[in-house]
Structure formats: structure tokens, C-alpha cells
Symmetry: C2
Subunit: 344 residues, 2 copies
Amino acid sequence: MVKATIDDVAKLAGVSIKTVSRVVNREQNVRESTRERVQQAIAQLNYRPNLSARNLASQRSHLIGLVYDDPSAYEIPSGGFIIRMQQGVLRACAAADYELLIHPCNYRHRNAGDKLHALIDQVRPDGIVLAAPLSNMPRIVNAITAKGTPLVRMSPGEVNGDQYKVVTNDREVCAEMTRYLASLGHRRIAFVTGHRSHKAIKYRFLGYKDGLEQSGLPFSKDLVCSGDNSFGSGEACGDSLLSLDTPPTAVFAANDDMAAGIMRAADRRGIDIPDQLSVVGFDDITLARQIYPSLTTIRQPLSNMAERAAHALINDPGDGSKLKGTDVVPSKLMIRESTGPAPA
Amino acid sequence: MVKATIDDVAKLAGVSIKTVSRVVNREQNVRESTRERVQQAIAQLNYRPNLSARNLASQRSHLIGLVYDDPSAYEIPSGGFIIRMQQGVLRACAAADYELLIHPCNYRHRNAGDKLHALIDQVRPDGIVLAAPLSNMPRIVNAITAKGTPLVRMSPGEVNGDQYKVVTNDREVCAEMTRYLASLGHRRIAFVTGHRSHKAIKYRFLGYKDGLEQSGLPFSKDLVCSGDNSFGSGEACGDSLLSLDTPPTAVFAANDDMAAGIMRAADRRGIDIPDQLSVVGFDDITLARQIYPSLTTIRQPLSNMAERAAHALINDPGDGSKLKGTDVVPSKLMIRESTGPAPA
DNA sequence: GTGAAAGCGCTAACAC
DNA sequence: GTGTTAGCGCTTTCAC
């Protein structure tokens, strides 16, 4: 099957290639009858513009790059997080005839920036969606912006500048979850923090403190344990929190993987969830609905966030006028089976 | 930052652009001293060839497409499966300066083939890795081969023709797992089948039957339940199997998601795993290690399979001589906590 | 409204 | 070994 080119279409429609180009690119100034004739020729020949030629001539690639922390760097990559971002970006791409290129990036490597440059120079994506925690790492962000590639950051934590970013209401929703636990009668609510390099996760901790205060509960350092977002670190924190002289009756983990680890640690000790211990997480990954009891958590609208990010990139007129400001997509509580009234 | 072109490099190195091209493409017939001079110029200008120009001129894109069943089509996409394939393909790509384009495809849609054509015509990937179950659907396979794009199929089930394919030893390893259960004293071993559209999964069922026979156990239709690969269908099958007058003491599910569903159904009924019921799955997704008790399963080397598939595509000389035959990457048992001796 | 001509940055074929 | 010359298929001036 030989490919039809713009010349074939032009010949069949009896117009110049420029006119075909106009129709394909939906430009103004084409008579309706001409447009129809060209459309017909396109359909008949099953013509589709060659991306490379288009890119070469126009300096656009119709490709979006999604860059995220390389899951191979982790022992047990859960993946649900990544899949959901991909789905969001893919929705935006599908709607605009873009394709998606994925590029995991291991920020621990010296040459992470070089690899990004290779991506940008060779493929020239029209824009890059950068996921947390890479989105808060100046080295990574600069590697991209230095090349002038339009960039949207997801959950970058605190940021300077008015570059467009898509975030969620980490702090507010975590305060809400903490108040929910307090409303169930819990007075000793522990918190398991996330990875240091992930700035946005710090807001979850702040939200937890807000929630305690709003509920009139004291904050205690003893009830805070440092995790690194992994299932294993959740297990370890669970062990240490449950070994306390007066253990907590509820544990709030900064993500679901750690919450699952905590549940596992409780299971091992024969502690019943939710009768003796309530556990909550953040993200609402697939696992949250598959473990038993199912996990009360906070649904982060990752796929919507990613979709909005990609959408902004795709619809940027080129002067960057759309790529400013902050887009807040709210998260919400998902109450399931892992939480219940505080034990008497 | 203005991009350096091949002309800039040629000028700086004092050679023609063709020589630069030769160096970049590692062709023969360049004097070592010349090569070095060019390399230096490349480094100095931080030159990287423009993919689009290269593609346009050479008809190669340095892009690999990974096409798989669209997870958005499922209520709870588990994703671990997809992530692992992506990781494998990405390893092969990274080693060869290729980038990866992902293209979920919903075979239930009428226009699935059209979307694939759009991908192929516009982007012109140098090859496509096609995952199961799409790899056993003639409509999808033909949509790709009709365009002449090199294709590697993963786990296509029975196939005609000698097109290169990467598979695992489903049947043999499932027989092995069944024998393992029998060796634990189980005599009533149930099987939960996978989705009809997924041909390779049928081999798992055949392996189960082989294993029964090899262990001298009778096959009974009553102990077979039809699932569709989803967690929910596993739960449903678990319910129905555990309601039998003489329920099985072990259940073998054709994938991990369903095994997790079965565990959940058992949990609900207060049936202890593994003391009263052994459960095993297939795939070894992340979940297998995160549920409690952890799941005994079969580790499918998805990422290796995908890597081999992409590697073959990338290193295909163009005449398709490498893209023949079948590559069998063996799976292996992962014995964990969800299996134990049959109850007395 | 439409078309002609000139590239975009690279590789391929063929000269030297 | 190295350089020259044509394109690859499209978009972009700028004419008409």
C-alpha cells in the first residue's frame, strides 16, 4: 500500500498543493466548494499528512512528551499513578490528533538532563508535561526550559514565576480528611510523611496539622513517621507506630502505597482494621479498592490534571499566553472500609 | 538557544555535511582523524540530528510504537501489566536512541483500525510492538501489516505464518503450578478462566488440565469458572466456587487480578488463606506482593518479553530477516503465602 | 481565493 | 575517504 502524498491529492482535486495544505490545516480563505472537493480527494486516497515532513517545514511535531520519575528506580513500582497520568494526556492527544511519547527520567542519574535534551532535540515535542516530583527539581525543569520547549508542571510544590502549572488542593483536602478522622472520635492520629524530594507532598503534612488544629487536637511529633512513598516504608512506619506505648488509633499516610504497607503491618500483628485501627491514604490507586478492607483515601484527579496540562500545551497559540497561572483541580475524600469509630 | 544543524558542524569541522552524516550514523569509510574532528565539533556545538529531517530523508523515524488494549475501557485498570511492558520496550529504546510512543487501542471501537492507520501514516514508527489480546485479533493485526509496518506480536496465541512473536510457556508453567498444588495434598483444585478474547490465556487452562492429569487427579467441569480477567469477575467466581457443596481447597486463577478477587470473596466469608483455601494467580503484578497474604503466582517476564520484541524491531535490517520465528521467554513460579497444605 | 517557488535538515546515489 | 547533488513531503512567503 503506497502512501498518498499531498501531490496526489492536489492532482485528483485539481488544485495546487497549497490549497490542499490549507484545507488540511483548516485555514481561512478557501472557497467552500473547493474545500469539499479537496476533502473528497483526501477521503478517496485515504491521505494523511506525513508528520515528519510537516514537522520539518513547520517546526511543530504534533507530539507531546510525558516525563515522569522512572519507575524502574523503585523496587516495586505500583504504576497506577503513571497509568492514570498517561490516560489523561492521551485523552487530550486523541482529541487533537497528537501522539504521546513517554520518557521516564531517572533524576538520580547524572545524565538525566542530557537524555532530556536528546528527546527535545531529536523529537521536538510541541510540549512536555512534567510530573511530580521531577516538576519541583530545578535541574530537570531547567534542562527543559533551556531548550525553549513549552512545559506544564504537575504538582510542582511551591513555585516562583507564573509558568502554567496544574495542582490539586493537597493541603485543604488533607485537613478535611483529618477532621473526618477526628469526627469519628480519633484523638491519636498519626501521619506518615512522603518522600523528601516530593515537594507537593509536604502540603499534605501541613493539611494534617491544620486538620488537627481545626479539630482541637494537639500535634505530637511522636505520631509522625518519615516514609519515602514506598509500600515498604509504610510497613516500617506501621511497625514503629504500632509499637508505641500508646499507639495511634488512626494513621494517615501521605500516599496509598504506604497506607497499604501500614495495613499489612497491622495485619501481621493481628490488629483489626477498622475496629482497632483506622488507616487512610492519598491518591486512590487501583490497589485501594483491591485490598481488604478497601482503603479510605483521597482521590487525586491525576488523569484530569494530566489532561488539562496536555490540553493547555496543545492549544497554546505559541506565544505562551495560555501557559500562565495555576489550575487547581480538587481532590476528594473516598470513604471506604478502612476507617471506623475510634475504639473505646 | 538556537539549534545547531549539520551544516554548522560541517563548517566547524571543515568537512562536508555528508561526512558529518557518516559519523553520526556510524558508517564505514571515515578516517579516524576525521571522525574525531567531527565528533569534537558535534560535542562543541551540542549538535543532535533533527529527527524529522532524518525521518523524512531516510524513511525511518527512530520511534517505536507500543500498542495495547486501552485500559480506560475497564472499570478498574490495574496498569501493572502495561507499565512492565513499557519498561521493557523503553530499555530497548534507550539502548538504541529510540523513543517510545504509546498508543492504547480500544478494539471494541469500530474505528480502532483507523486510529492505528493515523498513527502509522503520520508518525511512521519503525516498528510496532503489539500486546495481547490485540495480538490475536486479525482485524488489528491486519490494520498494521497492511501498512507494511514491521510488527512483533506478544503472546498471540496460536498463529499462522512465521512472523516473529514473543511468547511465554503458559501451558507448561501452568501444569507445573497445578502439580505444585497437588503436591501440597490438594485434590479439588478449581480453575478460573480468563477473557475469551485473549487467546494465550487458553493455554493456561490447558496447562491446568495437563497438571491434573500428570498428578493423577480427575478433571471436573464443576470446578471451572469463567472470568474475564477482572478483579470483579474473580470475586464472582470465588463466590460461586465457595458456595459449592464440596468447595475446592485450592483455586488457580488465570491472572492475578482475578486471584485477588477470589481472596477477597474468601475473606468476606471468613475463610482463611492459606489454611482453608489456597489461591494462586498468574502474572505477578505489583498487587501480588501487596495483598495479605501475599499471592503465590507465576511471574510472567513481561518486561523481558517486551524488551526482546522491541530489540528485534530496532535491529531488523529492513528485510525482515530477523523478524521470524518464535521467542519463548519462560515464566516461573513465585511461591508466597497464599498457598499451603490442603486442609485435613 | 489560489498558486509558484523556496526552503526546513537530513540521507542517498553517485561522483571524484 | 570524501564531496556534490537531489530530493523526502510538507509549510511558508509572496505573488497573482
